[in-house]
C-alpha cells in the first residue's frame, strides 16, 4: 500500500530544472503507475472567479476521450472538485463531495465509466505567489484499501503535490507564447487592449485607419480568434502581449 517518492521526486525535479525531455503529462502517468493510483490531475485555479472561469490551466493523465467529454458536457460547471478546490485548505476526499444533486451523481458515475477511478483525494496547494492549485489522485482501490492508502501516504501526497505544482509552473511558462506578431500588429493590439478605438490608434501610431484595421485583422487570425475582444483576451492570457504593457 505504500510507495516511495524518491523516483517521483527525481523525475519532477528534472522537469523543474529543465533536464527532462519528457512531457509533464507523461511524467505524471509514470508517477501514477509507481504510486499505484489510476490518475493524477493538476488544476491551477483562480480563487476569485466563478467555476466556469476559475480554471487557469490543467495537466491531467485522464484519457483524451474523458477530457473531450468533460469539455463537451461543460462538466466544469458541475464538477465539485473545481468548486471546492479553489476554497479548500485541507485535503478532501471525493466522497465528501458527493451530494444529493442528481447532476453531481451523474457526473461521478460518468467519470467512473471513463476510467477516472472510484476513489479520489484532492490536495490544495498554495505557492509563493499565493496562487491556488489542486492536485487530485484517483484510484480503483477498495474503500478499505483506499483509507489505508491515504493514512500511510498523506505526507508523500503533500510533497508530490507541491513538486507537481512547481513542475507545472515551469512547464506552463515554457509552452506559452507560440504566436509571433509583427511589431505593428503588436502595437495595434496593445493600444486596443488599452481601450483605444481604431481612429485613436491610427492617430497615435500615425498610420492610416485602414492599416490599423488590417494589422488587427492579421493579429486576430494569428491568434485564431473570432473578434477583437477575443483576440485581446487570448493575447493577454497567453502572454503574447505582456500584462505590464497595459499599464
Amino acid at each position: 500500500m505504500t510507495f516511495t517518492i524518491d523516483s517521483a521526486a527525481v523525475k519532477l525535479t528534472d522537469t523543474i530544472l529543465g533536464y527532462s525531455e519528457q512531457d509533464l503529462e507523461e511524467t505524471l502517468k509514470t508517477i501514477a503507475a509507481e504510486m499505484g493510483v489510476c490518475h493524477i490531475a493538476y488544476l491551477r485555479l483562480s480563487p476569485d472567479k466563478s467555476a466556469d472561469a476559475s480554471l487557469l490551466a490543467a495537466i491531467v493523465t485522464y484519457s483524451v476521450r474523458w477530457q473531450h467529454r468533460y469539455f463537451e458536457k461543460q462538466y466544469v460547471l458541475i464538477d465539485p472538485v473545481m468548486a471546492k478546490g479553489s476554497k479548500a485548505v485541507l485535503p478532501f476526499d471525493w466522497e465528501e463531495l458527493a451530494s444529493d444533486d442528481p447532476a453531481i451523481q451523474a457526473f461521478f458515475m460518468d467519470a467512473l465509466s471513463y476510467g477516472v477511478g472510484r476513489n479520489g483525494i484532492s490536495i490544495p496547494v498554495r505557492n509563493r505567489r499565493g496562487a491556488y492549485a489542486v492536485v487530485s489522485f484517483s484510484s480503483n482501490h477498495s474503500r478499505q484499501e483506499w483509507e489505508e492508502f491515504k493514512i500511510s501516504n498523506m505526507v508523500k501526497l503533500q510533497l508530490i503535490s507541491v513538486l507537481i505544482d512547481s513542475a507545472a509552473s515551469v512547464n506552463l511558462k515554457l509552452s506559452s507564447p507560440t504566436v509571433k506578431l509583427s511589431k505593428r500588429e503588436e502595437q495595434c493590439l496593445i493600444w486596443a487592449a488599452r481601450g483605444k478605438t481604431y481612429q485613436d490608434i491610427s492617430d497615435i501610431l500615425n498610420i492610416s485607419f485602414g492599416s490599423v484595421k488590417s494589422y488587427l485583422d492579421t493579429a486576430r487570425h494569428k491568434l485564431n480568434c473570432i473578434n477583437l475582444t477575443h483576440a485581446v483576451a487570448v493575447a493577454i492570457a497567453t502572454g503574447v502581449i505582456p500584462q505590464k504593457a497595459l499599464r
Binding site: 476554497k87 485548505v89 458527493a98 467512473l112 498523506m154 505526507v155 507541491v162
Partner: protein, 221 residues
C-alpha cells in the same frame, strides 16, 4: 470541542469568527501590548485574507467561544516569512508542503475560562494544541512552525509539544520572540493528549456534504 473553519467558509460561522477577532484584540493588543491593528474592537491582519485554516474552541454545550488559532501553509504567505524573517539566520527559511504555521493562539481569560488541565495548561489551549496534532495527521504534515513569546513557549512545553527553537530569538517591542518548530504525527499527538489529559478526537469536522448512500449507488460498479 474545536470547529475547523477554512477562511473561505468563515461567513458561515459569524458568531465564532467575531468572538475570535474580539478576543484577539483583547489578548494581543490590550493584554500583551503587541503592535497589532485593532479596528472596532477586533484584531485582523492581511493573513486573515489568505484563506487560513482556523481552529476555534467552543463550549460543547453552549457553543460559547473559548479560544482559537490560525494555520497557514508555509508554501504560501505566512508570518515567519513575511513579517518575522529576521528571527531566522541568513539563508535560513522554512518553506515546506508538510510544515504549516500556527499563529494568533489565544484563549478567553478570567471568569469565562474553563477549568485547567492537570499540568496547568488552560483547557482551551490544550484542546487547540491537540487539534493541531489531529489536523496535521489529516493534512499529512510533519511539523508545525510558530513565532511565539516565552509565555506560549511554556504552554507548548507543558502541553507536550516539545518545541525546538530555531534561528535567533529577538526582542520585538517589549516581548522576547522566538521561532520554533515541533513535530507532528501519531507519537507527538499522543504526547500532547497525555500532557493535557484529552482522550480521543477534539475536532468537529464540517458535516459531509452528503450522506454515504447516494455515493455508494454512484460507485456501485
Amino acid at each position: 470541542m474545536l470547529k475547523v473553519i477554512e477562511g473561505t467558509r468563515s461567513s458561515l460561522f459569524p458568531m465564532e469568527m467575531d468572538a475570535m477577532f474580539r478576543n484577539r484584540a483583547l489578548t494581543f493588543s490590550e493584554r500583551l501590548g503587541w503592535d497589532v491593528i485593532v479596528k472596532d474592537g477586533r484584531e485582523r491582519d492581511g493573513f486573515d485574507n489568505e484563506n487560513p485554516l482556523y481552529l476555534i474552541s467552543v463550549d460543547p454545550y453552549t457553543g460559547e467561544y473559548w479560544g482559537s488559532l490560525r494555520l497557514l501553509p508555509t508554501t504560501g504567505p505566512n508570518m515567519l516569512r513575511d513579517v518575522f524573517p529576521f528571527l531566522l539566520g541568513k539563508d535560513e527559511y522554512i518553506e515546506s508542503a508538510t510544515i504549516w504555521e500556527s499563529s494568533r493562539i489565544c484563549a478567553v481569560a478570567a471568569d469565562g475560562q474553563p477549568e485547567r488541565s492537570k499540568n496547568g495548561v488552560n483547557l482551551a489551549l490544550g484542546e487547540l494544541l491537540a487539534g493541531i496534532g489531529e489536523v496535521a495527521i489529516i493534512a499529512g504534515l510533519t511539523q508545525i512552525v510558530s513565532v511565539f513569546d516565552a509565555r506560549i513557549f511554556r504552554v507548548l512545553r507543558a502541553a507536550g509539544c516539545n518545541p525546538q527553537i530555531i534561528g535567533k530569538p529577538c526582542r520585538i517591542g517589549d516581548t522576547m520572540s522566538y521561532a520554533g518548530l515541533f513535530d507532528t504525527g501519531e507519537g507527538p499527538l499522543q504526547s500532547i493528549r497525555n500532557a493535557v489529559g484529552i482522550q480521543g478526537s477534539v475536532l468537529e469536522l464540517p458535516p459531509k456534504e452528503l450522506a454515504a448512500q447516494p455515493r455508494e449507488f454512484a460507485f456501485a460498479a
